[in-house]
């Protein structure tokens, strides 16, 4: 197992160690209050892990304040976990790497596995001694913006991986079933390969083995020999795929396009492919 992953046993044993901070980040922002890993902080992706004015990732100063309030300094080992097989835990992981945090890990299996194993939960909100955190300059080698994606389409210089469901990829639906539609057009970015994010995971929420992942991506011609850009609808599912490709498969040049389909699928004049 790559050292960016820890299992539930490790968290049960070391989650409260000095220098370790466990943080829950969920799609369902009410889950933390229902019960969380004892001692874990809870971050709300809708308010704390983004810029709430401009559409963007969390600004550096805001991240510094969040981490400081969570008792995290630059040397802290941050262990992230969450619901939906760590969707938004991966989103937080990606942003922490963009800002250069060294030791970030994900609890393999996330909240699902912790619950299924009947492990302790707490509804107490822990308080942390404030710490000082200094964010690094954003590492844009991890993040793709629209012009780069457009160039990738035009020049075929990067492989595009669409991690949404097959029905979103085909344009049959415009959003995950039951969720609001957030685009004007359905389909996918021309040339993108469909590798739904869920294929990275086992039924218990843990990541598949590196060999299985290599076979999964290799079957679509995604081998890491060329740059890869992953996208979904808003960038969180593709964070998980980005994590798998970069840290579990060791691809050197992988970017997350967080503009994703809510950007591309709303662009006037953008080319859209439907199978």
């Amino acid at each position: 197992m790559a050292n960016v992953l820890v299992n539930t046993d490790w968290v049960a044993q070391h989650g409260k160690d000095a220098g370790v901070r466990v943080v829950e980040v969920d799609v369902d922002t009410t889950s933390y209050d229902q019960g969380h890993v004892p001692g874990a902080a809870g971050w709300n992706w809708t308010t704390e892990l983004c810029d709430t004015l401009v559409r963007d990732i969390v600004p550096a100063k805001k991240l510094e304040a969040l981490l400081g309030a969570s008792g995290i300094d630059n040397k802290t080992t941050i262990v992230l976990y969450g619901d939906n097989n760590n969707w938004f835990a991966a989103w937080a992981f990606w942003q922490l790497k963009v800002y250069g945090h060294d030791d970030v890990r994900i609890m393999d299996g996330g909240r699902k596995k912790w619950l299924a194993e009947g492990r302790d939960l707490s509804t107490d909100k822990p308080s942390f001694a404030a710490a000082t955190y200094k964010a690094g300059a954003p590492d844009l080698s991890l993040r793709a913006f629209l012009p780069e994606v457009q160039q990738a389409v035009a020049g075929k210089k990067a492989a595009l991986v669409d991690v949404r469901s097959p029905q979103e990829f085909s344009g049959e639906i415009l959003s995950p079933p039951g969720l609001p539609e957030t685009c004007q057009r359905g389909g996918h970015i021309p040339g993108a390969k469909s590798i739904p994010w869920g294929k990275n995971c086992n039924d218990d929420g843990t990541f598949k083995s590196a060999d299985d992942l290599k076979a999964l991506y290799g079957a679509q011609g995604i081998t890491g020999d060329q740059p890869v850009i992953a996208y979904c609808r808003i960038g969180e599912r593709s964070s998980l795929t980005w994590f798998a490709m970069k840290y579990l498969l060791g691809f050197k040049d992988v970017k997350n396009y967080d503009g994703s389909w809510t950007e591309w699928g709303n662009l006037v004049g953008a080319a859209v492919e439907k199978p």
């Binding site: 619950l115 009947g118 492990r119 469901s165 344009g171 079933p177 039951g178 599912r237 199978p275």
Partner: protein
Amino acid sequence: MKPEDYSRVQQEIGGWAVTVETYKLGDVYHCTIANVDPGARVARADGKTREEAESRAIEKATRYLAQTRKFEV
């Protein structure tokens, strides 16, 4: 405290495959319904019993899933 009576089953609501995850924490049952693919949460509800939590969540999920439009491809 520990989660009790945990279950996670797959079923169909309004033609969509969903997972229904339920567990008891303290005196409250929590139920979350997510679509199988892509795995996004559709609805959640609490109740004093498993049946109450699940029926409330299923009622909400049925309503939300019915709003999903399908397009010809």
